[in-house]
C-alpha cells in the first residue's frame, strides 16, 4: 500500500504567513476576555498555593519541636489506682469508692454511711 503523500499545500491555511498571523490575532482577540478572567482567578489561587508549602513546612517544624519538648518534660508518677482518683474528682465519698470501681450497687445503708462519713 503506497504511502506517497499528495501535495496539499495549495489549501494549507498556514501557508501565507501574514494571513495566518491575522487569523491567530483574530482568535487571540476573541479569547482575550477569557484569558483575562483566568488570570484574575489564578492570582489568588497562586498566592494561596505559594503560601501552602512554606506554611506546611513551618507547621512540621513546630510539631517536631513540640514533640521533642513534650518528650523532655519529666512526667509525674502515675497513680497506682487511677479509678480512686476519678472517684475523688467526682466527689464520691471514700467509703463508696469500691462501688464505683466494682460492679455491685451500694445499698441505701452504704450510701447513708458513706455520706455520714464524709461529714
Amino acid at each position: 500500500m503506497s504511502d506517497e503523500r499528495f501535495d496539499l499545500s495549495g489549501i494549507d491555511p498556514t501557508r501565507d504567513e501574514a494571513s495566518f498571523d491575522r487569523v491567530v490575532d483574530g482568535i487571540m482577540a476573541v479569547a482575550s476576555d477569557e484569558l483575562e478572567r483566568r488570570r484574575t482567578t489564578a492570582r489568588p489561587l497562586a498566592a494561596v498555593s505559594a503560601w501552602t508549602r512554606p506554611a506546611l513546612a513551618a507547621a512540621a517544624v513546630v510539631a517536631a519541636i513540640s514533640v521533642a519538648g513534650l518528650a523532655a518534660v519529666p512526667r509525674p508518677p502515675t497513680s497506682a489506682e487511677p479509678e480512686a482518683g476519678i472517684a475523688e474528682a467526682l466527689g464520691v465519698p471514700a467509703d463508696l469508692g469500691p462501688f464505683v470501681r466494682g460492679e455491685a450497687s451500694p445499698s441505701v445503708a452504704n450510701v447513708l454511711v458513706g455520706m455520714a462519713g464524709r461529714r
Binding site: 504511502d3 499528495f6 477569557e34 497562586a46
Partner: protein, 189 residues
C-alpha cells in the same frame, strides 16, 4: 510563537493557558491550527467555514480547558470540540454554497494571473476533496497536509494505525480519479 513555547509540551502549555497565559494559548493555537482546520474542513468541506469553525473551537476550548483531563493529548480533546462546532455550523446553515472557493480575483498582470492560478488550484483541490467521505478526508488532510504519522492520526481520530493507512490510500486513489491527471502529476512531484 516564541522559541520558548515552541519546545514546550502540550501538557505544559495547557497548564499555563489555564492560568491565563496568552503566549501559551497562542502557542497551542499555532501548533494545532492546521490539524484543527483539517478536521473542520473534513466536516464542512469548505475552507472559509473551516476557518470560522477553528476560531470558535479554539475559544470554546479555552473556556473549557479545565475539562481537558489529559493535556498531553490536547489535540485529541480539541478534535471533539472542532467536530461538534463544525457539525453545529452545518446544522445552522444546512446548505452552504461554495462561492468563497471561486472568489473573484481582481486586477491584472502577472501577479493577478498567479493569484488566479492559485485560486483555481485551491478550488479544484477543495472540490475534489469534498467528494471524499469525511473519514477519508480527515485522515488524508492530517497525514498529507498536517504531516502527522499514522500512529498520531490513530490516537487523534480513534482508528487503528492500519485503518488510518487504508483511509489515506483509498482517499489518494479516489483523488487521482477525480483530479486532472496533469495536476496529480504535479501534486505528486
Amino acid at each position: 510563537m516564541t522559541e520558548e513555547c515552541a519546545a514546550v509540551s502540550d501538557a505544559s502549555l495547557v497548564g499555563r493557558a489555564r492560568g491565563g497565559d496568552p503566549a501559551a494559548f497562542e502557542a497551542l493555537v499555532r501548533r494545532h491550527y492546521r490539524a484543527a482546520w483539517s478536521i473542520a474542513w473534513s466536516v464542512t468541506g469548505n475552507g472559509m467555514d473551516a476557518e470560522d469553525v477553528c476560531q470558535d473551537a479554539f475559544v470554546r476550548a479555552l473556556e473549557r480547558l479545565d475539562e481537558c483531563r489529559r493535556p498531553e493529548s490536547f489535540l485529541a480533546w480539541l478534535r471533539t470540540i472542532v467536530r461538534s462546532t463544525a457539525l453545529n455550523l452545518i446544522e445552522r446553515r444546512k446548505v452552504r454554497d461554495a462561492a468563497p472557493l471561486d472568489a473573484v480575483v481582481e486586477g491584472s498582470g502577472p501577479e493577478a494571473d498567479a493569484r488566479a492560478a492559485r485560486a483555481e488550484l485551491r478550488a479544484g483541490l477543495e472540490r475534489a476533496l469534498a467528494q471524499l467521505p469525511e473519514r477519508q478526508r480527515e485522515a488524508l488532510l492530517l497525514h498529507d497536509l498536517e504531516g502527522m504519522t499514522h500512529a498520531e492520526i490513530a490516537g487523534t481520530i480513534g482508528v487503528s494505525e492500519v485503518n488510518s493507512r487504508q483511509l489515506c490510500f483509498v482517499a489518494r486513489r479516489r483523488l487521482r480519479e477525480i483530479l486532472d491527471p496533469r495536476w496529480v502529476e504535479e501534486a505528486l512531484g
